[in-house]
Amino acid sequence: MRCRKARLTIDAYVSGKIGPRDRVAIEEHLKACDGCRQAATVARRLVALGQALPMPPVPEGFAKRVMALARRRIARPAPAAPSWSLAAWWRMASAPIRAAAAAVLVIGLGTGALISWNTWQAPAAPPTQAASQTDPLASYNVDYLTDAPDGSLAQTYLALVSTPAQEGK
């Protein structure tokens, strides 16, 4: 058994709550390792200390005071708590759940930041000719006051719509 495992097993060993195989392994280790033997000694001393330290009895009337407060609390209903709160969930969640939630948050924020960065870094597309001109009609050189240029589509159109309809022909 290595020191790392021994140090983590010492409490179970000192309190006698260890399987036979682990007991043999840790006892073998303690014979050879001064550091771990010292840690086991510290653990035993702490147990002895706990028994030796003064422990005053429960204060007189403790239960009566609790019950008086309890009756007052029952008589005065507490304001309705929100059905769910993030803080309450965080407190009640186990350590693995909290770790998973934190990881999801970090990954989400990181992904968002990466996308924003890439978007900001991407070079702007060159403006098209049409986009660069503010007046779209200007791109067609439409001039309402002069005749349409010869041979232009506009001239042809105007010629068509101006020709009077000939009956039967």
Binding site: A12, A39, I74
Partner: protein, 171 residues
């Protein structure tokens, strides 16, 4: 607790009487001050009363109570500085010699100061494991963490307390 959830205060009274010592011991061992320990222990029972409608008997009540008291103690420690060692209770008079009484009081103050110097999580692990005699699994349940995390906390606490304990054992 199921009766308490239905509003039976007599049942709650029985719960308080049966478990008050557990709450008191954990709070006092951790905080070292009678008044603060009583406040925390009282608050633990009142929180349990408030939560009675939502209580589910998934573990022994003692485990549940330990968890509530532990959480309140750790919250308290976050808000407050460690107490001066003068707040230790009077030592039981087992020896008529005044010098011996003084020596025991000095020892207890030293231990209290060393405990108060530990980070709250390590201190709580020491209190629950070595002073209350809970096994690591029960300590982990009370502290709402894993057994490995408790073992690491205890290993660090032992490292910090080792010089003091060596000194005390020499005396």
């Amino acid at each position: 607790m199921l009766a308490v959830a239905k509003g039976d205060l007599d049942a709650f009274d029985q719960i308080v009487l049966r478990h008050q010592e557990l709450a008191w011991r954990i709070a006092f061992r951790f905080l070292g001050d009678r008044h603060e320990a009583e406040d925390v222990a009282q608050e633990a029972f009142l929180r349990i009363l408030d939560a009675a409608p939502r209580y589910k008997p998934t573990a022994a009540f003692g485990t549940y109570l330990s968890r509530v008291v532990t959480r309140l103690c750790l919250d308290h420690a976050q808000k407050k500085r460690p107490l001066p060692a003068d707040s230790l209770p009077a030592v039981q008079d087992v020896n008529p010699s005044a010098a011996e009484r003084m020596a025991v009081q000095d020892r207890d103050r030293t231990i209290r100061a060393a405990l108060d110097g530990l980070p709250p999580a390590q201190r709580m692990a020491v209190v629950l494991r070595y002073f209350e005699g809970l096994d690591c699994r029960s300590v982990a349940s009370a502290m709402d963490t894993t057994v490995k995390a408790v073992e690491r906390l205890l290993a660090r606490a032992r490292g910090t307390l080792q010089p003091l304990l060596a000194e005390l054992s020499e005396k």
